[in-house]
């Protein structure tokens, strides 16, 4: 469905210091029918990637195709069967829900009885029936996101590109939104969704981890977790800050990640359990519990980012 080949986009003038590479040599294949998650922190290049795929931003170098159509030369063909939902609310604030949906129907040539039916269906789907006559600026953030999604779905697109559809939405609305996405996916749509939330990434078929414009890893959540070269221990103790400092001096500890009142410690294998306990006791740290825990994408992602930073620092030192 989607194929990108060394897709890059820079902003700012070339040969200037302030030039930013938002997306750096992104090569990616997304098959038909997949729910693909693009995950990464702010500024990782998720939005830029989606904009290029939507045909509204020209790549600096590299190329990409959607259903074998080039995203630059055949952008208008692609737009016929594409549903794109920008990160910011992209519909008209001064128009009502109904007016906005009718406008989008006009744009996609959804007319007559088909339009009535489709709008009804979408309002059912998103529970927006009672807000039809409300101007969209008076909708809550979650309702705006749902309206945005409805607008992207009007023409039953083959491919949905959703840019952080749940950012700024309350947890209940977020859950509802993902239920809608799962339903859409089950009905055969190909969906690419970007998100900064790792728990959302877990619900995708495959996940691409982006950082500083680069795709650091791309696989199913299960396989991504196997990238972690070891096991995770969750530590509860009286002085986590000191424990973190101490453990970082331990050569066999791969990474230490604080998470609330827990310290996630990554070590190569279970044989290190004893050693961890002993080291902490030596420094008078009272351990409440130290148990192995299944890794989540969050730990994997942080581990990969730290490795990446270490490597690039090393490279810079070598050049210097």
């Amino acid at each position: 469905m989607i194929q990108t080949h060394r897709l890059s986009r820079t902003f700012g003038k070339r040969l200037r210091r302030n030039q930013i590479t938002a997306v750096d040599s992104l090569s990616l294949t997304i098959p038909q029918g997949e729910l693909f998650g693009l995950v990464g922190p702010d500024g990782a290049g998720k939005t830029t990637t989606l904009r290029m795929l939507a045909g509204i931003l020209k790549p600096t170098t590299g190329n990409a195709t959607i259903s074998d159509h080039d995203i630059v030369d055949e952008a208008e063909t692609i737009k016929q069967s594409l549903g794109y939902m920008p990160q910011q609310f992209g519909l008209y604030q001064d128009l009502t829900v109904d007016e906005n949906l009718n406008f989008i129907c006009d744009v996609f040539n959804v007319v007559g009885a088909a339009r009535e039916h489709r709008i009804h269906e979408l309002l059912d789907f998103t529970n927006l029936h009672e807000f039809r006559q409300r101007r969209s600026k008076h909708l809550s953030g979650g309702m705006q996101k749902k309206l945005g999604l409805s607008a992207a779905l009007v023409h039953k697109p083959n491919l949905l590109l959703l840019d952080e559809p749940t950012t700024g939405v309350d947890p209940v609305a977020r859950r509802e939104f993902w239920d809608i996405l799962t339903e859409l996916h089950a009905s055969g749509s190909t969906i690419v969704v970007s998100t900064p939330y790792m728990d959302e990434a877990e619900r995708c078929n495959r996940v691409g981890l982006m950082y500083e414009g680069k795709l650091m890893a791309c696989d199913t959540p299960l396989k991504l977790k196997q990238l972690l070269p070891g096991v995770v221990y969750a530590l509860r103790a009286d002085d986590l800050l000191r424990a973190e400092r101490i453990l970082k001096t331990n050569a066999s500890v791969l990474d230490v990640q604080p998470y609330g009142d827990i310290l996630n410690i990554i070590v190569p294998d279970e044989s290190h359990h004893r050693q961890l306990k002993e080291q902490l006791s030596q420094h008078d740290i009272t351990i409440h519990s130290l148990r192995p825990t299944p890794p989540r994408l969050e730990e994997v992602f942080i581990y990969l980012v730290r490795q990446y930073r270490k490597d690039s620092n090393l490279q810079q030192e070598q050049f210097a």
Binding site: R51, I56, K58, E76, L82, Y84, G90, Y92, L95, D106
Partner: protein, 397 residues
């Protein structure tokens, strides 16, 4: 291009316009309001210019002259002074715009036979001092004062020359010579075509109609920037709607509103200001339509070139409003501008708009007389939309 798309964009653009109080005000009431306010303000003919008299002669005759000056609509004698510093102060304090100095010996020269004899060598003398900081009213006042005093002197001389022999010591040959001197060398008749009473408002209102019609042009110059700043452009350009449909759809409501304004302002000009209309009404509305298209084309081009709402508004103000007032020919004829400024006015549709409006209202000119301006407007309209269509990209950066 898909007609449904143009209609869809036009419909939503219409909703934006009527739901934004600022825009609807600027578009619906703005031009007519501008026409009413500015026409009333600017078209006041000059009257009651404060005038100070320095009468060195102090005679019945000079008092008589002062009464005649005061009787004019243009002048209003506010004070009498008897030295130079007196009127200098008044000028500085802006209590006087014009000072009339009647020099000593004025009445002697115009009432006695010796005086009359001396006229051949030295005429009676007046001096006028005007406030140069306000040339428009000062010069009008000066012209009036010069005319009145000149006429006054001629009348006085005529009475003297024609008075019965019993009341004067004048010799017949003396009388004959003076008669000849008094005969005017040229007989002047003036006819004011198109505007017989030289009413400023007749001249101003048609020009003002053209200037007020720049408001829709200014307003449309923010349409793309507005979509950009609200984030809706991103959705719009990601749909398969063609860029030409977007631009045409956006222009459509503005064209309608501008045409509505043409009709409204025509009615105001005729009914409120009583300006005559001597052209062909159908031709006038057709040419106004062309003029409206030219201004909107430039406004639309601005909206594509300039990325932020504020910058677009400022740029269109600099392009439409100021040149509209100053360079359009409304107050100063375009012919007197230096070459380089004249060249600049070629790209200002308002110059042609002013000419068309004045010509149609006052002179009743035909299409043939306006061909150059019609051609200019056509080029601006066609090229404006064409370039706008080429520069507008369905991308966000």
């Amino acid at each position: 291009m898909n007609q449904r798309h143009i209609y869809a964009i036009a419909k939503k653009e219409w909703l934006h316009i009527i739901r934004d109080p600022m825009t609807i005000f600027l578009l619906a009431i703005g031009p007519v309001l501008m026409l009413l306010l500015i026409s009333y303000a600017m078209a006041t003919d000059i009257t009651d210019v404060p005038t100070v008299i320095y009468d060195q002669d102090q005679s019945d005759l000079s008092a008589n002259l002062v009464t005649q000056l005061d009787a004019s609509d243009v002048l209003n004698v506010t004070d009498h002074v008897n030295n130079t510093t007196g009127y200098e102060d008044q000028l500085e304090q802006r209590k006087a715009r014009l000072v009339v100095i009647i020099e000593d010996g004025f009445s002697d020269q115009l009432t006695t036979t010796q005086g009359l004899e001396s006229i051949a060598t030295s005429a009676p003398r007046f001096s006028f001092v005007i406030d140069g900081t306000d040339p428009l009213s000062a010069e009008t006042a000066l012209e009036t004062a010069v005319n009145i005093s000149g006429q006054f002197v001629r009348n006085q001389l005529n009475t003297l020359v024609e008075q019965p022999q019993t009341e004067t010591a004048m010799l017949p040959e003396q009388r004959q010579r003076l008669r000849q001197q008094l005969r005017a060398p040229v007989d002047i008749h003036t006819t004011n075509r198109f505007n017989p009473d030289l009413k400023a408002i007749w001249d101003l209102v048609p020009a003002m109609i053209a200037v007020a019609l720049v408001l829709p042009g200014m307003s449309i110059s923010t349409v793309i920037a507005r979509e950009r700043s609200q984030g809706t452009l991103e959705t719009l350009v990601a749909t398969p709607i063609s860029k030409h449909a977007i631009l045409m759809g956006k222009a459509f409501p503005y064209v309608l509103i501008a045409l509505l304004n043409v009709v409204l302002m025509y009615i105001v000009a005729r009914a409120v200001f009583g300006v005559p209309f001597r052209g062909n009404l159908l031709v006038y509305f057709a040419l106004s339509g062309l003029y409206v298209l030219a201004t909107l084309a430039i406004g639309l081009l601005f909206s594509i070139l300039i990325k932020s709402i504020e910058a677009a508004l400022w740029a269109s103000m600099m392009f439409f409003l100021f040149p509209g007032m100053l360079l359009s020919g409304m107050f100063f004829p375009v012919d007197v501008f230096p070459f380089i400024v004249k060249l600049e006015t070629l790209e200002l549709p308002v110059v042609s708009g002013v000419l068309i409006n004045r010509g149609m209202f006052l002179q009743g000119v035909s299409v043939k007389d306006l061909w150059w301006n019609i051609l200019l407007l056509l080029i601006i309209a066609v090229e404006g939309f064409e370039i706008a269509g080429r520069l507008f990209k369905k991308r966000i950066a």
